[in-house]
Structure formats: C-alpha cells, structure tokens
C-alpha cells in the first residue's frame, strides 16, 4: 500500500470507531454530569425508568435503522402504521382473543412492510412513498376505529402491558432483547449483510447480484414488525386504542437513529446505535424532566442534540471517505 492511502486509512479507522462509540460516550458524560447535579438521577431505579422511557421509541428506532442502513433513508409512516396496527389489534382482540389479535397484527405489519417496499422500489423515493402510506394508514385507523376509543378487556393483554418480571417492565425486556438480536442480525445474518451492502452502494449491490428490491422490502417489514410490537404493548398497557395514537412520533424515531450516528446514506452502523440513540434522548429528557425544565427548552435541547450529532458524524464520515 502506498503512503497516502495508509495515512487515510488510519485516520478513517480511528474516526469511525469514535463515531460508533460517540453515543456511549455521550451517555456516560451526561450520566456523570446529571448524577453530580441531580440526586435522584444516578440511581438504579432511575436507570430502569430511563430504559423504560426509551423502550417504545427505541424498538421502532431499531426497526427504522434497518431502513436507514439499507440506503432508504427513513419511513415516515411508522407512527401512522402504529396507530393502524393498534386499532386492528384492539378490534381483533376484543372480538376474538389475544393470540388472534397478535397474529393478525403481525400479518398486517408484514403486509404493510411489503406494500411500502414495493412502493419505495417503484417510486425510488422512500420519503414520498412512505409519507403517502402514512396518510393511508392514519386514515384507515380513523375509519376502522370510527374515531372512537376502542377498549379491550383482556387480562392476558393487560399482563403483557403491565407485568414486571424481576421488577423490570416487559417493554424494557423486549427493548433490550431486540437491541441484542438486531445487532446479531446486522453482524451475523445473511440478511444483515445484504442490508448493509445495499445501503453502502446500491448500484454495486445490484451489480453483485443482490436482490436490492427484496432487501428494501424486508427492511421495511422489520420496521413494521417493530412498530407492531410497540402498538401491541401500548394497547395492552392501557387496554385501549385510538386512531390518533403516536401522532408526531416519527421525529423521535428518526432522532434516535441520527443521534446514534447511523450514516444517513446507509451502509454504515448497527441498529444497536439506534437503540443507544433512543436511550441517550431518554436520558436527556429525564434529566431535564427531573430539573423541571420547560417544555419549549426541552424540545430545543433535543433538537440541538440531533443537529449536533448529525453534524459531527457527517464531518467524521466525510473525512473517512
């Protein structure tokens, strides 16, 4: 290897490793600062509270990261799909039973993922395609629910929503479990490799014989399944669903992915980073909540963190290329 290439390599590697660790490092810094200034912050109990607060956003963000990693930016339909799946889950569970509700919702999620994947492939524009689907999903949720509140009375569902095995909420267990699995998927599974390669260079992936269109569909299916899990948890916890659930959450999902430092262009990073991004945001929010920071400031800070994270990662990755 020649000298310049070696020089660039060493810079690139160091920065990339740094980028991957940045979320963790920031979490540690905030934790220390917050712990010193806010007594209630640095306790095991509060740590669990933060994981729980991050879990619902985090599960969707993990799913979203597959879409981003596969080179398809973001799906802007996640929150609307969540509402639709929540409504369907409540309807089916109320009419039949819990297993049927879960089964129908998972089938619906897969279907929604595939349909959106087809649309993304046809239009070549994930943002517009999923935005349109978002409107369809929200509209369907509204129609199916009759704009009312759908209640379920199901003890098994309530258990899923409120149980705390070993003192930790089911939502937190699921979040941690999915984060671990998602890391394995990207690092060890064939599909993960296909997602990464499709995102790293779509043309090269096609030229290498990868079925990029199918990979796109599968990434959206995985996102939809994540959304379905969150929809089920939310309905189960409060025993009700309505069509305006999760309104405005898309920003949170995207923020988690970005703060985690996943390359916008795709092909670099792991879903674990999105999970960490969600925890980082929850950490910030918790810190400000405990210090009684006003809502406007809270939004400003979270927004600033997102902008800062994107800028830093963009700079680092720019050097890396």
């Amino acid at each position: 290897m020649t000298s310049i290439a070696i020089a660039r390599k060493s810079i690139g590697r160091r920065t990339w490793r740094f980028a991957s660790l940045a979320a963790v490092a920031t979490i540690v810094i905030i934790a220390v600062v917050a712990g010193l200034t806010t007594p209630a912050f640095l306790t095991v109990g509060n740590g669990l509270v933060i994981i729980r607060a991050a879990s619902m956003t985090g599960i969707v963000a993990i799913g979203m990261s597959y879409v981003t990693l596969s080179g398809n930016l973001f799906a802007l339909s996640a929150s609307a799909l969540g509402a639709l799946l929540a409504v369907i889950f409540a309807l089916v569970t109320a009419q039949t039973d819990l297993p049927a509700g879960i089964a129908v919702v998972l089938v619906g999620a897969v279907l929604a993922g595939v349909l959106q994947g087809v649309a993304v492939n046809l239009t070549g524009n994930p943002i517009i395609a999923t935005l349109a689907f978002g409107a369809v999903f929200r509209g369907l949720a509204s129609v199916l629910s009759g704009n009312g509140v759908l209640r379920i009375h199901n003890t098994a569902a309530a258990w899923i929503g409120t149980a705390r095995p070993l003192g930790v909420p089911t939502q937190s267990w699921t979040f941690v479990f999915l984060a671990a699995v998602s890391w394995l998927v990207i690092r060890k599974a064939r599909l993960g490799r296909q997602i990464i390669l499709s995102g790293a260079n779509r043309e090269a992936a096609v030229a290498s014989g990868l079925r990029v269109n199918i990979v796109t569909c599968l990434a959206l299916v995985m996102l939809s399944v994540g959304v379905a899990i969150v929809a089920i948890f939310t309905v189960a916890q409060f025993s009700e669903a309505r069509s305006n659930l999760f309104s405005g959450y898309d920003f949170d999902y995207i923020a988690a992915v970005l703060v985690g430092g996943i390359a916008l262009r795709g092909g670099q990073g792991t879903p674990l980073q999105a999970a960490l991004g969600a925890v980082l945001i929850a950490l910030l929010e918790n810190f400000m909540l405990l210090n009684n920071v006003s809502g406007g400031l809270l939004m400003t800070v979270v927004g600033t963190v997102v902008v800062g994270a994107i800028s830093v990662f963009h700079l680092l990755q720019g050097k890396n290329r």
């Binding site: 916890q237 069509s243 909540l289």
Partner: protein, 352 residues
C-alpha cells in the same frame, strides 16, 4: 390480499368523501361551514357530530372542512372556501394553532357571515374578528379539577400538601388555561413541586412522564393533576407501579372525562368532570343560529347552566362568550351512571 387492501382503501376514501361532502340533505336555511382539525381525534369527531345534529335540528346543513393538524393547510382551506363565492350562513372556527390562525379568522370575518370561534379561546385583541365564542372554558376546567381535589383532601385521614402537575405540550393554550385555573383555585392551600409538559395528550405520553416524575419525588408527592383523564389513568398506573396506591397515598385528578370510566369508578381518580365534545359542537351551532335569528350579541360572558336534563334554550341572543359547563362527577359507579348533562348521560357524552 392486495385487492382486499384496495377495497379497504376505496371504502376509506368513500367514507372520507361522505364526511366532507355529506349532509347535503335536508335544510335550506343555509350552510354552516365548520373548520376543525382532523376528526381522527375522537373528541373532534364528537364535536362534528354535535354540530351536525344541532344544525339539522335547526334546519341548517353543515360542511365540515378538516385539516391534518396543520395551520397552513387550514389557512388555505379558508382561502378556497372564500374564493368559491358560496355564501355561508355562518362559520365555526376551531383553529389548529390559535395565534397562527388569526389571519384566516380575519379573512372569514370579512366575508360578512357570522363567525363563531370554538374550543380555542380567542386571543386578546381579536374581538373584532369573530361574532362570539362558544365552547369550553379551560380555566373553568382547571378550577373544577382543583375544587374536586380540595374536596377529596378534606376527607378524613387524607394528607395533602405537595403535588405535581403534568400538563399538555408547551404552546397548547388549553394546557396553559387549565393550569392557570387549577393554580388559582389551590393557591395557599396546596404546593406545586413541578409542572411538567408531555409531548402529547394520550395515555402513553402521560405514562412516560408520570413514570419518571413519580419515582423522583416519591416521598413528597401527595397529589397529581394531569389536565385530562387519559393521562390521569396512565399516571395512576405509574403510581401503583411505584407503590403509591391511587386514592390513598396519592390523589390523582384529570378533570375531563373520556370513554374509559374504569379509572374513575374504581377510585384511581378522585373523580372527573364532563367536558363534552358533542355539546361543544352543539353549542357552537346553537350560538350561531341564535345570532342569525336575533342579529345581536350580548356583551360579556355567560356560563351556561349545567342542568342535567334540559339543554339551554334556542331563543334569545347569544353573549360574546358562551361557556360550556364542566359538571363534576364523583368517583363511584353510581355517581358515574347517574351523571347527566342537558339530557344525555356521562357514558354518551364522554365517548371519546
């Protein structure tokens, strides 16, 4: 599978179309045009229903124009409506963002047709742009919740001092008003440790904030006010998970009923109050028609009586400010079942 999906979409579109274009039937006294955010919000759905039924009763047709929680969309809808040249009997204006919608409100007011503002209490200095306000009074809602809380605190064996408020997102004027009303009523009697905004109005958001606030102030919290019952129910869940039994160790009040009465009747919440979307729409139309009939607006405000059986009369001139009552309901099965306003019961009115 795909064709099944297409069918659903078609049905959805058909249904949506019907909402927008429907109710062309009956009524030739004129058309009332109602601007509201999306009826995907069940409360707004009830509002529309109330408006339609009252208008039909009084012989008017209704055209509802919804936006997707987007003020600029609503503004352009106003422009299109005015440009269409169709003369409306009157307008009902529920802006998505009160302040940002002033321009559109002003344009409506210049059309010559009366404009009734509803739900979002008009900002100062905009008096000239609307005929009258008819709808909820959020200060009253906060005050009602505070009164319920004070009453519960007075029960023997209850200890009330410090507590927290979980409020609607920053910038939501209803959230400001309810906090104001609540704080006015508890002044000198209870301490507020923190006022924390959520990112939404529903259970999941309420839970997210309550599950973080409660453990942080576990030793001192004796009450929680959450501005609505959805978040109150979720807060009760969070309290229980933290070992604070709602109704015993901590008193929780939301103050606006919704469809799920379980948290009220099981004593998780100390009670609730009827704020009916249905009657808010109903009242807006009634106020409009009262003005059309009399051509007059009485100055000042009126709190309409919370008569359990009889709705207010259609006769006479409206006031400038016509407020919907917020009758309180106790936290027992019997109290909930018996609660009524203007001839409808709580179950019917709180169905959102």
């Amino acid at each position: 599978m795909k064709s099944g999906f297409a069918t659903v979409v078609t049905l959805a579109l058909a249904a949506a179309l019907q909402w927008v274009c429907g109710s062309a039937m009956a009524a030739d006294k004129g058309e009332v045009v109602v601007f509201v955010p999306s009826s995907t919000n069940p409360y707004i759905g009830q509002f529309e229903k109330g408006a339609r039924e009252k208008a039909a009763e009084l012989g008017y047709s209704v055209k509802v124009i919804e936006n997707n929680f987007n003020q600029s969309e609503q503004d352009s809808q106003v422009q299109q409506q005015l440009a269409s040249g169709q003369k409306a009997a009157g307008y009902i204006w529920w802006p998505f963002e009160n302040a940002a919608g002033i321009g559109a409100l002003r344009a409506l007011s210049r059309s010559g047709s009366p404009v009734i503002v509803s739900n979002q209490f008009p900002l100062k200095g905009t008096d000239k742009f609307y005929t009258a306000y008819a709808g909820a009074n959020d200060i009253l809602s906060g005050r009602t919740a505070a009164e319920m809380l004070l009453k519960a605190c007075a029960e023997p064996g209850m200890k009330c001092d410090k507590g927290a408020i979980i409020r609607f997102p920053a910038g939501v004027s209803a959230g400001d008003d309810r906090v104001t009303g609540f704080e006015q009523a508890i002044k000198g009697k209870l301490d507020v440790i923190s006022v924390t905004p959520t990112a939404g109005f529903l259970e999941d958001e309420g839970y997210k904030v309550a599950s973080q606030i409660i453990p942080a102030h576990k030793g001192e919290l004796t009450w929680l006010y959450t501005e609505n019952d959805s978040m109150a129910g979720a807060a009760a869940q969070a309290a229980r998970e933290n070992g604070l039994a709602p109704g015993k160790r901590i008193l929780i009040v939301g103050g606006t009923c919704h469809g799920d009465s379980s948290h009220v009747v099981n004593g998780d919440l100390i009670g609730t109050a009827i704020q009916s979307g249905y009657f808010e729409g109903w009242l807006a139309v009634q106020t409009l028609v009262k003005y059309i009939k009399t051509g007059k607006v009485l100055p000042g405000e009126v709190y309409l009586a919370a008569n359990p059986d009889k709705p207010p009369s259609d006769d006479g001139a409206p006031h400038k400010f016509n407020f919907l009552p917020n009758p309180a309901i106790g936290n027992s099965e019997a109290a909930y079942d018996q609660a009524k306003l203007w001839g409808l019961n709580a179950k019917q009115l709180c169905n959102f």
